[in-house]
Amino acid sequence: MNRQNTFVTIATLALLGFAGTASASIGEAIHNMFTLPANTGAINTKAVSMFFGFVLISLSITVWAAKRTKSTSDFYTAGGNIGGFQNGLAICGDWCSSAALMGVAALIYSTGFDGLIYSVVPFGAWPLMMFLLADRLRNLGKYTLADIVSLRLARVPIRTLVAGASLAFVVGYLIVQMVGAGTLISNLFGLNYEMAQVIIGVLIVLYVAFGGMIATTYVQLIKAVLLLSGATFIVVAVLAKFGFSLNGLYQAAVDNHPLKTGVMQPGGLLPDPVNAISCGVMLIFGGAAMPHVLMRFFTVPDAKEARRSVAWAATFIGYFYLLTFVIGYGAIAFVMKNPDFLDAKGIIIGGPNMAAIHLSEAMGGDLLLGFISAVAFATIVAVVAGLTIAGASAISHDIYANIFRHGKATDAEVVKVSRIAALGLGVLGIVLGIAFKGQNIAYLIVLPFTISSTVFFPVLFLTMYWRRLTTTGVVVGGWLGLATGILLLVVGPTIWKDILGNAAPLFPYKYPALFSMTVTFVTMIVVSLLDKSERAKAELASFDDQFVRSQTGLGAEGAVQH
């Protein structure tokens, strides 16, 4: 107990030291914290106090959760004691990143209908998760995705693949969130970019390292409630202006937007059928197998609660996506022609990402603006916390405990490594966030989704459904698919042509998922069928037990009784 306290103290000091040195202009940043963007000049005390309110509440929860986080099971899965409804809300918190609120609103603001495609298509992952994965995930899983795959297959090569891909996924997603967050928060609170990175990084490490999955879950929960209620409020306010007539709102949007009726129809976002299908495959199958979301299935006691989690998550997320149908067009109607939100050239202040935020000010003045700003902040922090705990579990449970220590590490050692890993990921997030400042990082979001659809989905799916799958098949197929996906991304139009400045891409499609996922599936199947080793025979024989467990839940990791 004493050693743990020492560690906590050292980690806190290290963090504070880092926070102190990371930003040279810390004094200026603190000063800036109390003023909004230069154009208004006014001190938005409401926004700042709501922001501090969220931080205070979430840190109090962390203190409370830290006392309850002792074993690895507490750390990774909150002891398996979360209910289906709470978990559904928390999953909604994990899923709806700032991209879902501000990004989709920005896309609709700029392009109209094409932005809506980003609300509709990723949602397809939810029913698939329910029908094909939810029960089996809970019945087979323990802490991480690798646990499921290595139930029947060889521990070390499988965990190396799945944990490696999970870390690549987490880091890619983390950069996108951190850079987006830095820009957004500097716009919202007038804070400088580096300071924003440090604040987010420090909060995340505090939540995850000390509060583990319990604190992370409650942060997600609060964030989801704030996000859903804030978005609902905006939607009611927008619709009320048109006497609750959707047609009135859309008519106003058509009148305001330079595209006119073009905002109500597809406009070439998905230029050709191959890109369209590949993008759909990436979002649906990649979305159904994201490690930080699937990890949440292990926090509930049994398969029934896992199903309830998905049902609630799908309901909340579906509801939220429907709200974006109004928020995006509401921004066109109330922000696009409003001089309060435009600069001298008539361009939206802070860029299209601010469309939803400006709309909240137009609808509810300072108070709603402050509330939505705090929601945006909570949204980012919660998603980064979810990613960090997924990354920390891959490092401590898969790599440290199972690969290096061959399952012989004590509970206390593993929890300690988890905390160090969370600290490391927090620092890495800050460093990468600062390194990628000002870069066009939109392409980076394709990376985690490609990894997810290329590695996690095929591997999980065949593990659960296909008797003949062997370790060699997974290892060869998984690595080959991963390499294919990353290679095709690099030589594709976005990186090879737009970023590296070559004349023409070597691979013509923006989204490689269709091809890389096919490579993984085909290679896994062919190699498994050709595998005549003794190990393969033993793996084949053990499928029946795994099948019974996956169907009945008998022998599943149970909830820890406190």
Binding site: F113, L116, I117, S119, V120, V121, F123, G124, W126, P127, L128, M130, F131, L132, D135, L246, N247, Y250, Q251, V254, T261, M264, Q265, P266, G267, L269, L270, D272, P273, A276, I277, C279, G280, I284, K304, R307, R308, V310, A311, A314, T315, G318, Y321, L322, F325, D544, D545, F547, V548, R549, Q551, T552, G553, L554, G555
Partner: protein
């Protein structure tokens, strides 16, 4: 535990349950994938169809309605699955596991 697994595996009710559950899961998945790829294909191949107003005097297009319907369909099918699973499969599952655990 292995013995119980073996007994469950030889219980015809278990395989009937697994088949029924998987049939429902696959049917609903097929419905969802069909709706999704129809939506994506419509965007790629028939954008003009999605651009049509729903009726005279409105700016709301087929595309907007299609988007809403896809989301509503997904939530509803998710509901159908959980309703079936809770109402039928959980009880049958418990009976199979209990019998296998009690057997000598």
């Amino acid at each position: 535990m292995e013995d119980i697994y073996r007994r469950i595996d030889t219980d015809p009710r278990f395989h009937a349950l697994a088949r029924a559950r998987s049939r429902l899961g696959w049917t609903l998945s097929a419905a969802v994938l069909l709706a999704y790829f129809a939506f994506i294909f419509a965007i790629a191949f028939a954008p003009d169809w999605l651009a049509q107003p729903l009726h005279a005097g409105t700016v709301v297009t087929t595309g907007i309605l299609a988007g809403v319907l896809v989301i509503v369909l997904c939530v509803s099918l998710t509901g159908v699955y959980i309703w079936q699973a809770n109402r039928r499969y959980d009880g049958q599952n418990r009976a199979i596991v209990d019998d296998a655990s009690r057997a000598p």
